[in-house]
């Protein structure tokens, strides 16, 4: 645990180094990937997602001592969501997906199949972007951030039932959009 704290501190500028006491920084760092994926879901492109994840951690580390959250993971996910919404308000999402070359390196697929796959993913992204904000944030938190219903409810200050209802509506809307778009592309 102490090693993890020291490891994080070496990556931080001196003014942000926290007090040397057993804090839940490891928990925070453990959700790095989830925070990044959540940012990816909101931003719609990898470059913005990276910046947003970094901004989220910068905010979290500077406010950690003051806030002392009971549930650090839910807390940082809430910061990530707010950071993403702030950014969305500042400017519209650029929208382009990850470059195709990096996909091939991950899955070893052929460029032709990847082109088709990327087009399908682009449709999904458009479908998610077309959702109303309150449905979109629930879907992104669930599908990209991989948060449990209870965690989403905690982060958004909603009941679990509302989260499930919104998630269901969001999924149906995305499916409808995807099928219509996909049908148009294939015809």
């Amino acid at each position: 645990m102490q090693e993890a704290v020291l490891e994080i501190e070496t990556m931080m500028p001196p003014h942000l180094v926290l007090a040397r006491e057993p804090v839940d920084l490891q928990d925070l760092l453990a959700c790095r990937d989830r925070v990044y994926c959540l940012c990816l879901g909101f931003a719609g492109n990898a470059a913005d997602a990276r910046d947003l994840a970094q901004e989220t951690f910068a905010k979290a580390l500077s406010h950690y001592e003051a806030d002392r959250p009971e549930n650090p993971q839910a807390w940082i996910m809430r910061i990530a969501r707010n950071t993403c919404l702030d950014q969305a308000r500042r400017r519209k999402s650029r929208g382009p997906l990850h470059p195709i070359s990096e996909w091939t390196a991950v899955d070893g697929r052929t460029p032709e199949s990847e082109a088709g796959r990327e087009e399908e993913i682009a449709i999904v992204r458009r479908a998610i972007a077309a959702l109303p904000g309150r449905l979109r944030e629930v879907l992104v938190m669930r599908e990209y951030g991989e948060l449990a219903y209870q965690e989403i409810a905690l982060a958004l200050d909603l009941s679990a039932g509302t989260v499930m209802s919104r998630l269901n509506r969001a999924r149906r809307a995305v499916l409808k959009f995807y099928r219509e778009e996909h049908h148009e592309k294939t015809n």
Binding site: Q54, R91, D107, I121
Partner: protein, 180 residues
């Protein structure tokens, strides 16, 4: 029996694929959790045109205001600016304009001189401290188009220079107080 496929599974698979690729890229890069991303402080390419548009709009407004002020200074007042339709002047030589009869209408349209009320000129003379007899004889029946706007402007300028209006106001106030 045919197995029921979850309709969401395909979408979830695509999202998982996107995340997988993006995460591989993210992990390969350096991540400094405590540092604010530098590119946020620099205006992005998308923000710059907005700023440029604002500056251009501001510059255009300033130029427009300067133009109006220059016109006002040159002409002396808005009333002396020609009211002749610019379009009519431009189109007066064209065939279609003549055919439609607009050309004749435009040609017959004359720019009336700014009318000057003779009583107004007399009032200015009073303001300048002259008596009615000293002032030019004013014919109340004279047609207004015979008034000379340049002369009126000259007198007005003089009146402003010599604080005649203030004196007039003082006189009026005195009269008003006496009557009261």
């Amino acid at each position: 029996m045919k197995k029921q496929i979850d309709p969401w599974a395909e979408i979830a698979g695509l999202i998982a694929l996107e995340k997988k690729a993006a995460l591989a890229d993210f992990r390969a890069r350096e991540f400094a959790p405590g540092v604010l991303p530098a590119r946020r402080s620099v205006p992005t390419a998308e923000q710059r045109p907005v700023l440029r548009r604002t500056v251009l709009a501001l510059a255009a407004s300033i130029l427009f205001a300067a133009g109006l002020t220059a016109l006002w200074l040159l002409k002396g007042s808005w009333g002396s600016i020609s009211s002749e339709p610019v379009l009519a002047g431009l189109l007066s030589d064209t065939y279609l304009y003549h055919r439609s009869g607009s050309g004749e209408a435009a040609a017959s349209a004359t720019v009336a001189k700014a009318p000057v009320n003779p009583h107004f000129a007399a009032w200015i003379e009073v303001g300048l401290g002259r008596t009615a007899s000293e002032a030019e004889a004013v014919d109340p029946q004279a047609p207004v188009e015979r008034g000379d706007p340049l002369e009126v402007r000259r007198k007005l300028s003089r009146m402003i220079r010599e604080d005649a209006l203030e004196r007039l106001l003082t006189q009026f106030r005195g009269i008003h107080e006496k009557e009261a």
